[in-house]
């Protein structure tokens, strides 16, 4: 077992590797973490996810754009592939929740949805990804079959965003307790409220914190 100093060094390398979209650095640090007997779950949270959090801030401040964020995501996934199989959940808090995620019907733009999905996975949610151009009924059916806590709907276009309202009505009709989160380029918090959603994700980074709040609220019911 290595020292705490060494552990922090490897977390730092993974974090920096994600921010600098340096897959090799992330892979090297993740392998070292495993070889030296450190905790893989901590590596995911304090290394990879911590790096992606900074990436989210860089995206918000328009220092990073879509190409950079996608490359950071590649680096994160490279580390996740190594660490995730080694995660030991014994004694840890159980899975935080289950999410059904997809892009609404008529819209095939899935870059944002994939980034949000990745953040959910990193945070330990079980994710049911329906892909893009998903009919409303598929969201309803999947939510019922999996008893997921949250349904996350994404839309890239103003026109397809309008379909979210119908989806929310139908989902709530079948299961009034389900929490619904909206995200995507044309969506704002005001629009999410107007459509009757329970949460709004401005970007991939805050989707998870929003989801955790929603699950906590749901479990208090």
């Amino acid at each position: 077992m290595g020292s705490d100093e060494r552990k922090q060094e490897l977390f730092g390398k993974m974090k920096e590797g994600v921010i600098e979209y340096d897959e090799d650095q992330v892979v090297e640090a993740a392998n070292a973490l495993v070889d030296e007997g450190f905790d893989a779950y901590e590596g995911i949270m304090d290394g990879l996810a911590a790096g992606m959090e900074v990436v989210g801030e860089l995206f918000d401040s328009q220092e990073y754009f879509v190409p950079e964020v996608l490359m950071c995501a590649d680096a994160l996934y490279a580390g996740l592939d190594i660490l995730r199989p080694r995660v030991d959940m014994t004694g840890r808090e159980a899975v935080k929740g289950e999410v059904v995620i997809g892009v609404v019907e008529g819209d095939v733009h899935d870059i944002g949805k994939n980034l949000v999905k990745m953040m959910f996975e990193v945070a330990g949610f079980t994710v049911h990804d329906l892909g893009a151009d998903v009919p409303i009924d598929e969201f309803v059916e999947k939510q019922i079959n999996t008893n997921s806590d949250i349904v996350a709907l994404s839309a890239m276009m103003t026109t397809t965003m309008m379909g979210m309202k119908k989806a929310i009505v139908k989902l709530k009709e079948k299961n009034p307790d389900v929490m619904i989160m909206l995200g995507g380029a044309p969506v704002t918090g005001e629009i999410a409220d107007m459509f009757g959603a329970d949460g709004y994700s401005e970007n991939a980074s805050n989707a998870v914190s929003e989801a955790i709040k929603m699950v906590a609220a749901l479990r208090k019911m």
């Binding site: 754009f65 190409p67 996608l70 490359m71 095939v108 899935d110 309008m162 005001e190 629009i191 107007m194």
Partner: protein
């Protein structure tokens, strides 16, 4: 009506009255009770829809078809049709194939849907009266992302030679598309539309997008027509770069600050258009469209400004 006002404004000139150009898109079909998938596959319906919308909204100028899949579909690339949206490209031939393996050809006026777009365009042009007709081409960056998929965004950093090769081809497609709108249909203005342009950093835009726009812009200017760049999303960081592509005008969406766009356009002597809130005002009514229009008009001024939805 004011075709000349639109042409003047797009070229950065003073206009006594600010011209109005609604981007009606498939809403033109809605107005005549026709779904998008019928409207965009029938020359008569498209012409009828555009003419009706121009009349109904008392437009000074109007785009022919807001459909960025025309070029890709005319290359034989698969797209999906929707009743209330333009078609979306769902196949990306360069995702798993090289340029040589995919053997893509620049589509000409006889390929794909071009014959019906040309037929509709000529009909509209004949009957549009004193209004500017605007042809919209799929911009080279958007087309490159259609051809390669989302990977194209990382290629620009990780595989710049491959990205340059794809962009070079996309530039030729956009050039031919611009030629069809300018020469065969006789559109008064031809715009290169880049919905994904705002998703790259300014350095990437300069390196890949500006050079790829040049063949189309040269073609438009050689035909003595007016050129424009249309962009979606928060393009604040690249608006200034767009001003020096060589296009006459830059047209932006609702997320941008109109004062900033105006100042940039005045600095470079370009036209600019925007930015009535499409989502908040026109679709959802969360903002009063009249008040929103007053704000945009006050910010835009009368030099080089065209009022349009964002």
């Amino acid at each position: 009506m004011g075709k000349q006002a639109v042409l003047d404004a797009y070229q950065g000139k003073y206009t006594p009255v600010v011209p109005w150009v609604p981007y009606v898109g498939v809403h033109a079909g809605y107005l005549i009770g026709e779904p998008a998938d019928k409207l965009l596959q029938d020359a008569d319906l498209l012409a009828k829809g555009v003419l009706n919308a121009a009349e109904r909204y008392n437009a000074d100028g109007i785009p022919l078809a807001f459909d960025l899949a025309i070029e890709a579909m005319s290359m034989g690339i698969e797209a999906k049709w929707f009743p209330d949206n333009p078609p979306t490209v769902i196949d990306h031939p360069l995702q798993h194939k090289t340029m040589a393996e995919a053997d893509l050809k620049v589509p000409g006026p006889k390929d794909g849907r071009w014959p019906l777009i040309i037929e509709a365009g000529k009909k509209v042009k004949e009957q549009l009266g004193d209004r500017a007709l605007i042809g919209l081409t799929c911009g080279p960056l958007t087309l490159a992302s259609h051809l390669r998929g989302a990977k194209f965004f990382t290629d620009m950093v990780k595989k710049p030679e491959l990205a340059a090769e794809i962009m070079e081809f996309a530039a030729l497609v956009t050039k031919e598309s611009a030629r069809i709108y300018a020469e065969e249909i006789g559109c008064d203005i031809v715009a290169l539309v880049e919905p994904v342009g705002s998703q790259v950093r300014p350095e990437t835009y300069d390196k890949f997008v500006i050079p790829a726009c040049q063949p189309a812009l040269e073609t438009i200017h050689a035909a003595d027509k007016v050129s424009a760049l249309y962009i979606c999303g928060d393009a604040t960081k690249i608006v200034e770069n767009m001003m020096y592509t060589g296009a006459h005008a830059v047209c932006v969406d609702e997320q941008l600050n109109m004062n900033y766009i105006r100042d940039c356009a005045l600095k470079y002597g370009r036209g600019f258009a925007g930015n009535l809130k499409l989502t908040l005002a026109l679709s959802l009514g969360l903002v009063d469209p009249r008040e929103d229009a007053i704000v945009s008009l006050a910010a835009g001024g009368k030099i080089g400004f065209t009022f349009s939805p964002g």
